[in-house]
């Protein structure tokens, strides 16, 4: 499903973000990407949805080399790879419903499809009663649920989560993790960057550890300490 083959990424100013990282992630896995700030977790995720491209090596998703895709094919890739972010990145002028619907509309779905799919997604993330609220009227946890609904509404086979619990308290984080586990159970591969030890240790999933751009550990049912 996802393969990194000796991937190196160096940002301008000679900042080494990733160095010769290789790994394979199979369909339906739940992966924790751990490491301290600046270890390359976000860069790893950005390479998967073509926000960045590798300087050396190759990233493969569903048999296609991501870095070699023409620009016109990037939107299609991003419909296969849903994203959630630490700062939610919701559109502030749109309601919960509109934020989720937007992700469907830009892929050319009919209004009928939007009308049926958005409510079911909002029910999945527990926000059926907040349909007409605006992001600023929601708690952090609720905003992250909207973000998850938006990322998952196209039913992408891959979901990337960049520190999704970074701004949330313990209980709220657990709620988000349950939601991600539920999505994973439905067959979506989840790659989640985090440095929250409690979450990683409680889940006992595969853990990829990055340290200053290098992949230093790859453990099934790993721990993070």
């Amino acid at each position: 499903m996802i393969e990194l083959d000796q991937v190196t990424k160096i940002y301008k100013g000679e900042v080494l973000a990733l160095y010769s990282v290789s790994c394979k992630i199979t369909k339906g896995e739940f992966i924790f990407l751990v490491g301290p700030s600046g270890s390359g977790k976000s860069t790893f995720l950005k390479l998967l949805n073509r926000q960045e491209t590798a300087d050396q090596g190759a990233v493969w998703i569903a048999g296609k080399e991501v870095g070699a895709l023409p620009r016109s094919s990037v939107p299609k890739l991003r419909r296969l790879v849903g994203c959630i972010f630490q700062d939610f990145k919701l559109l502030p002028n749109r309601t919960v419903y509109e934020n989720v619907a937007f992700a469907l509309e830009v892929t050319g779905r009919s209004r009928q499809q939007v009308r049926t799919q958005v409510p079911s997604l909002l029910e999945l993330v527990g926000l059926s009663k907040k349909t007409h609220s605006f992001p600023h009227e929601l708690s952090g946890g609720e905003q992250q649920r909207v973000s998850i609904a938006r990322a998952f509404v196209n039913r992408p086979p891959i979901l990337l989560a960049d520190e999704p619990t970074g701004n949330l308290d313990g209980d709220t984080s657990n709620g988000i993790m349950r939601l991600l586990a539920e999505i994973n159970k439905r067959g979506t591969t989840v790659v989640m960057a985090t440095h929250d030890q409690n979450i990683v240790n409680a889940a006992r999933r595969r853990v990829l550890r990055l340290d200053r751009g290098r992949l230093t550990a790859d453990e099934a049912k790993g721990r993070y300490s």
Binding site: N49, Q51, R71, S72, P75, K76, R78, R79, C83, K89, L90, L91, N93, R94, F102, A103, E105, V106, T107, G108, R111, R150, A151, N154
Partner: protein, 297 residues
Amino acid sequence: MALSLGYVFRETRGNLRWNVTLFAATIVAVWVSLTLFGSSLLIREGVEQATGRWRGGIEFIVFMNADATEAQHAAIRGALDENPEIGGYDFVDQQGAYNEFITEFADRPELIENVTPEILPPSYRVKPTVDDADVIEALAAQFDTRPGVRQVTLPVEVIRTLQQNSQKVSVFVLIIAIVVLLAALMLIANTIRTAIFARRQDIEVMKLVGASNWYVRLPFMVEGTIQGVIGGALAIPMLFLMNNLMAGFVQDDYLELLRSLVVDSAVVWNTSLLVTGIGAAVGVVGSLFAVGRFLDV
């Protein structure tokens, strides 16, 4: 994947609703800029029209001898008819010349007393189709030596002065119009860029959820077009106002120059359409470029 009209309409409406201030700012920028540009065009048109009117009035006069034979007249008429550079001519006979003399010197009866139609030369008032001083001079010279011709007169110095000055004024006003247009384009493009810069995060999110570049661009382009058209349309009454203000100076002899710059309302309409078209084009292209900077996500 086909772009849905409903999507474009809703997005554009949303953009307008959420960014009323910047939307209005762009319209004002387009309005003011295009009013200035349109005014420059109208002034140029007025100058062209005024000098054209003066130029069109230039003619040379072939004075015949008072005793020229009918054959000599026929030869002159034949030559005038054949020459493609001559648009037409009027024949003023001796009685006609006398009538003109009386009108001209109405306040000097002592002159009129001493003149009779028989001593005045008949003449051909010739209107050339060209307005180049050198050509008219050469044309006039062709008639100077013909039998029966007493003299050919032409206001060549007047033509030359007029030609040089009208060209200078026309080029000068055109340069001003171009400079104003460039300033207008930069002002409009900058305002649109500011408006879109404020929404760069929206664009980033759109791209990250899989929107193609055209899905992001199109609502912005429609918005830019609406702004351009509204700004251009608002400039139309300003152009009419300016033209009418100049027309209002008709009563004032001291501002005769301005009076001559008043143009026909059809010209104002044409300029208005041009200005509105430019407004729409600038709106579309400005938005296209401004959005383009943030599409690389």
